[in-house]
């Protein structure tokens, strides 16, 4: 919402503050000023001058030399403007002054354009006559400005006077951010009321006097509202003998400052009242209203209607229409029809000021894809009691401006007049909520300034209908707080019973995961939760792969963001790819992010959101580096048992010979592997890439931060080294299973120290060497005991077809 300060001052005449003071104070009482712009910015030393004489320039066909009376002196100005003549009064910027822009109306330079005396083709020129563009405005806002050339001021303008002031440019336009609850503040009067209370000044709204001739509007028009829910009130007045003319300058200036282009008196009055009262109005040419009747009803599904912008609109039964006895003439609250629009020879006008259901207008305007000035106001839900004031104000202006003859009376369909709301008021409760000690009288004083009534007997605040946002005690507390001053409310800390600050167990495990990943050299990545369904093909997933069971967003930003991820792989590979393609070397990343697994599709209940730890890298390291990081994390998380890498089930996006499911205590908790070259090719990563994915939900269930000390045994250990030859396809994991199975209680640890294939080992076989350590808690082990255990282990290994190597 943009308005000129001068318009606010029209209703708060004593307001005398600087632009910055106004900004700060209004913002602190809740009418947030987003910014302001002075209309006279960079306009310096500009006065009204009168052209006394014009001569041709001796050396240039397109230039003329003018003698201009600027009040204090007569200056010579050379100009190329085609439109000036002797006797014209024009804005003149004097030597050393400034204008806002160039005559082409392009973007305004930040610090304006300085004007100095000089010579044009050898003839001295002192100052410059200004076009409206040079004054920082445009022909749109000053329709009386010539298409090209100098702005010509009125004949009675005093020579030497401040031209900027006379053009209405000594003003500041403020831009507000109005919150959606303050419908009343989407109007000049609403803001003026807030300003008056903020600065403790008197608020003087216009008092629309009842106008009209002896006739009755009801003799001209009848109104029937068929859907009272969607149209709680419909006011109609009639104006005859319309005389279309430009509106007065003051009205044009106020509209222009609000960004509204002045057109003619009739259009300008409706726009003016819309700004002033926040109530949109519509004018119909009464000749074109069949049967002199207005019917407000819903459209029928499939109806079509041509709006006054010439577009054909498809309607449905939830669109409210304004109709005459025969046809539709407008879409209620959104846009009038081509068939009833005002044309130049209009004689009699029907004014409509109605109240429509805000939600209906909002939804209709959304469905129709047309948001207009009017619909933007209506959709907020307007006060029906404001409609009459607005239409009366419009008629008052019609009379004052001589725009037509107002017919007496108003046709008003208002079956259920809205009544002021009563809200119980307990001043101590307000203080209790705010933590303040504000006297009751002070609170009541604020209410009175805000035009809120008070029933002292019932202790109820009587809320006028324009303040639909005030419903309960907390709302009243806010009104008190706003004008008492948020800054004056003390600062305290909550008292009462103490509470323990902590992370949840899940978050503690996640914190550990981050710490381990970071200490292992991985940096934290974050990627979006939604991605493209094409990701599945990129990862070579089969058509029936469960990962393809993804939740789809109904209204995504585009296909690339249309499904909720079922794995973090794509995010990780994309991030690695970005780094690879920017020639960053040796990249290790991790992400802790949710995946979204639907229980059924389409979604009936919330999906399973599972936090995943995804680790990924290219550069230094290999499969076993990654495995080490995983083991380190699991161990830190209290998962002390052996992690089993099971290569039997294959994932299509991983290297078939370099991948494993991670199994802990019989449960799959993730996977690890080298990315399949087909996939790295698609992601344009030209290096071996490794991923590990851990299901944090599963791990959190198994995790524990409990620590228990186990005594350090002082008896010596016995270590035996064995070297064996096994078939190549035997995995060391199988050998270790045997060692663990038969090692029994005495087994303390084992350590693989050599794996070898090549000369001296038969083809298809490998040599594997372990160092196995035994220890008893309560005694020094005898060789015999160790020998027995070793025998069992060796027997076990034989069953796998493994031979000891001598």
């Amino acid at each position: 919402m943009n308005t000129a300060l001068s318009w606010i001052k029209a209703y708060v005449p004593d307001l005398d503050v600087s632009d910055q003071q106004y900004t700060d104070a209004m913002t602190l009482t809740g009418t947030k000023v987003e910014g302001f712009e002075r209309l006279d910015k960079n306009l310096e030393k500009i006065v009204v001058g009168q052209i006394l004489s014009i001569e041709r320039h001796p050396d240039a066909d397109k230039l003329i030399v003018c003698q201009v009376d600027v009040g204090t002196e007569t200056v010579q100005i050379v100009t190329g403007a085609p439109n000036v003549k002797e006797g014209d009064k024009v804005p003149v910027v004097l030597d050393g002054g400034k204008v806002a822009g160039g005559h082409d109306g392009g973007p305004l330079p930040e610090s304006g354009i300085k004007i100095k005396k000089g010579k044009l083709r050898g003839v001295a020129s002192c100052g410059m006559m200004c076009s409206i563009e040079e004054l920082g405005s445009s022909r749109d806002m000053y329709p009386d400005a010539p298409e090209e050339g100098i702005y010509i001021m009125k004949e009675d303008t005093p020579v030497g006077a401040d031209a900027v002031e006379l053009l209405g440019l000594r003003d500041t336009v403020f831009e507000y951010e109005i919150t959606s609850n303050r419908v009343d503040c989407y109007s000049i009067l609403g803001i003026a009321r807030e300003a008056a209370v903020t600065f403790g000044k008197t608020y003087c709204p216009p008092a629309p006097a009842v106008t009209g001739n002896e006739e009755k509007a009801s003799d001209y028009i009848q109104v029937e509202v068929q859907d009272e829910e969607l149209c709680p009130r419909y006011c109609a007045r009639v104006v005859k003998n319309i005389r279309i003319a430009p509106s007065p300058e003051w009205m044009q200036r106020r509209l222009a400052a609000s960004g509204i282009r002045p057109i003619n008196n009739l259009v300008d009055i409706t726009n003016y009242v819309m700004e002033e009262f926040g109530q949109p109005m519509h004018a119909y040419d009464l000749r074109r209203i069949a049967g002199n009747k207005i019917i407000v009803r819903r459209a029928k599904d499939g109806d079509e209607f041509q709006t006054l912008d010439g577009q054909l609109r498809k309607l449905d039964r939830d669109v409210l229409m304004i109709c005459d006895a025969e046809k539709e003439v407008g879409i209620a609250g959104i846009m009038g029809g081509e068939n009833s629009k005002i044309v130049d020879d209009v004689k009699t006008v029907l004014f409509e000021a109605a109240c429509f259901d805000g939600t209906n207008i909002r939804l209709s305007s959304k469905r129709l894809g047309m948001r207009t000035e009017a619909s933007a106001k209506f959709e907020k839900g307007l006060d029906p009691n404001n409609a009459q004031a607005a239409i009366d104000r419009a008629c008052q202006l019609i009379e004052e401006l001589g725009c037509g003859e107002v017919v007496g009376g108003m046709v008003d369909c208002y079956p259920a007049p809205r009544q002021p709301r009563r809200v119980a008021f307990d001043w101590q409760q307000v203080n209790k909520l705010l933590g303040t000690d504000i006297p009751e009288q002070e609170m009541l004083r604020i209410f009175a300034l805000l035009d809120l009534g008070y029933d002292s007997e019932k202790k109820e605040v009587i809320v006028p209908t324009f303040r639909q946002d005030l419903e309960c005690g907390a709302d009243l507390a806010e009104e008190v707080a706003r004008f008492y001053g948020y800054d004056k409310i003390p600062t305290t800390l909550p008292g009462g019973e103490g509470t323990a600050g902590k992370l949840s167990f899940k978050l503690r495990v996640e914190e550990l995961a981050r710490n381990v990943a970071e200490y292992c050299g991985f940096s934290q990545a974050m990627t979006y939760s939604f991605e493209s369904p094409r990701v599945f093909d990129k990862l070579s997933l089969a058509a029936d792969d469960p990962m393809r069971q993804a939740i789809t967003i109904m209204n995504p930003l585009g296909e690339d963001y249309s499904i909720m991820r079922t794995s973090v792989i794509n995010g990780m590979l994309t991030s690695l790819s970005v780094n690879y393609n920017r020639r960053n070397k040796n990249i290790h990343l991790y992400e802790l992010g949710n995946i979204y697994l639907p229980k059924a599709l389409p979604l009936e209940e919330l999906p399973d959101e599972r936090m995943q730890l995804m680790l990924g890298f290219y550069g230094d390291g290999d499969f076993f580096t990654m495995k080490g990081v995983v083991e380190e994390f699991l161990e830190q998380a209290g998962l002390k048992k052996k992690l089993v890498c099971d290569p039997s089930r294959k994932k299509p996006f991983l290297h078939p010979g370099r991948q494993a499911e991670l199994v802990y205590d019989g449960k799959v908790i993730g996977w690890i592997g080298e990315v399949h070259p087909d996939v790295t090719d698609r992601y344009e990563i030209g290096d071996r890439t490794y991923l590990a994915d851990l299901d944090m939900q599963g791990i959190t269930k198994l995790a524990s931060f409990d620590k228990k000390y186990v005594g350090i045994v002082r008896y010596p250990a016995v270590t035996r080294d064995i070297s064996m030859v096994a078939k190549k396809e035997i995995r060391v994991g199988q050998i270790e299973e045997v060692i663990e199975k038969f090692g029994g209680k005495l087994l303390e640890s084992y350590h693989l120290f050599d794996v070898y294939e090549g000369s001296q080992i038969a083809r298809g076989y490998k040599s594997v060497a372990y160092s196995i350590t035994f220890r008893a808690k309560d005694r020094t082990l005898e060789d015999k005991e160790v020998g027995k255990v070793m025998e069992k282990i060796l027997d076990g290994l034989k069953e796998l077809g493994i031979e000891l190597r001598m």
Binding site: T27, L28, T29, K32, T179, R182, G358, T359, R362, E379, K380, K432, L433, L434, T436, D469, G473, A474, D475, A477, E478, A481, P490, T491, T492, L493, P494, G496, G498, T499, A500, G501, K502, L503, S504, K506, R514, A517, G521, S523, Q524, A525, M526, T527, Y528, F530, M554, N555, L557, M564, I587, H588, L589, Y590, N594, Y596, P602, L603, L606, P607
Partner: protein
């Protein structure tokens, strides 16, 4: 005998003096003091000495032995020191050669900021909780006093999955879930991912993070809200940070406020960073609306509370002077390494 001893002594001392190497000292020790050493043999020949002279001669031998041992030890110490010094000189390194770092990974700037915020609130007794990212319309809107067809629903540009299920547009639904599950006193913060259908650009992202905070107890006041957030701002942005509360509107709080902090770049005098105002907006807050309390099973007659919400990216961007939000989701290591 005495002469012989003197001769041995003089000879031995001279050899010790000239030894110059640890091994030679050892040889000398063996040659004089060893089992077959010269001094030992003198001692052995003591039996040939007249008995009355034996103590005297014995004493002399022992004196010579003691002297030699002392000199040997001294010479050994000198040589060992020299050898150590030579080793030290030889082992000198160029300390300006590059380091061998164990490369530790870096946290995402969002996480750095979040951990700072969490640390402050955990210190004030707040529990960190979470809620689902895919949420019911009820929790995201209705239970927060945003009924069906409320314009605020449009303002938030919601991604829908079905009519009833959506991607949460705010972390505020965690307020409702917490109130349903816990009895006051409640002090919690709820960080998490939220979604709004904004096109990606330097200041917008369809997916970002918020941190929600909520306190419910008997006698919680707006002044408590002010005090809490003032303390938070000082902890997060530095000692001299001031806060400004501006009236605002949120459907689920009343009274509501937006909070500005003094610009941490210019300290409040106004600069390009704060667009000349000296203030930077960082969060929204207010007293929890009695309707919201009631809907979630908390009696507004008995309890009151406040809530606040802030954008994590906004804080990270401001605090670390990151000028483009897209950097946060590209994961370029040259960016991540700076945090």
């Amino acid at each position: 005998m005495k002469e012989k001893l003197e001769q041995i002594k003089a000879e031995a001392l001279e050899r010790i003096e000239e030894a110059g190497a640890l091994e030679k000292l050892n040889d000398i020790r063996v040659a004089y003091l060893g089992k077959k050493g010269e001094l030992t043999s003198v001692l052995k020949s003591l039996k040939d000495v007249a008995p009355e002279d034996r103590p005297k001669v014995g004493q002399m031998v022992n004196d010579v032995r003691a002297l030699l041992e002392e000199r040997l030890e001294n010479a050994k110490a000198v040589l060992a020191r020299a050898a150590r010094e030579e080793q030290m000189a030889r082992e000198e390194i160029d300390v300006t050669l590059p380091s061998k770092k164990a490369e530790i990974g870096h946290k995402h700037p969002n996480m750095v900021a979040l951990e700072e915020v969490e640390r402050i609130f955990i210190g004030m007794g707040y529990e960190v909780v979470e809620g689902p990212e895919i949420e019911y319309d009820y929790y995201n809107f209705e239970a927060l006093n945003i009924p069906a067809n409320h314009p605020a629903k449009d303002e938030q540009d919601t991604f829908y999955i079905t009519d009833k299920i959506l991607l949460r547009t705010q972390t505020s639904p965690v307020q409702v879930r917490t109130m349903e599950q816990k009895k006051p006193p409640i002090r919690m913060i709820a960080p998490g991912r939220v979604f709004r259908s904004d096109e990606v650009d330097a200041t917008h992202s369809p997916s970002f993070h918020q941190i929600e905070g909520m306190v419910i107890d008997k006698n919680i006041t707006f002044s408590d809200l002010k005090g809490t957030l003032a303390q938070f701002a000082v902890e997060l942005f530095g000692e001299n940070t001031k806060v400004k509360f501006r009236p605002h509107h949120f459907p689920f709080t009343e009274p509501s406020a937006e909070v500005d902090v003094t610009c941490f770049k210019c300290g409040g005098v106004g600069c390009r960073f704060c667009k000349g105002s000296g203030w930077i907006e960082i969060l929204g807050c207010g007293m929890i609306h009695p309707k919201v309390l009631r809907m979630s099973g908390i009696d507004p007659e008995e309890y009151s509370g406040f809530a606040f919400g802030m954008g994590l990216e906004r804080i990270a961007l401001l605090k670390y002077e990151i000028d483009d939000m897209r950097l946060l989701y590209e994961n370029d290591i040259r960016f991540l390494k700076q945090f």
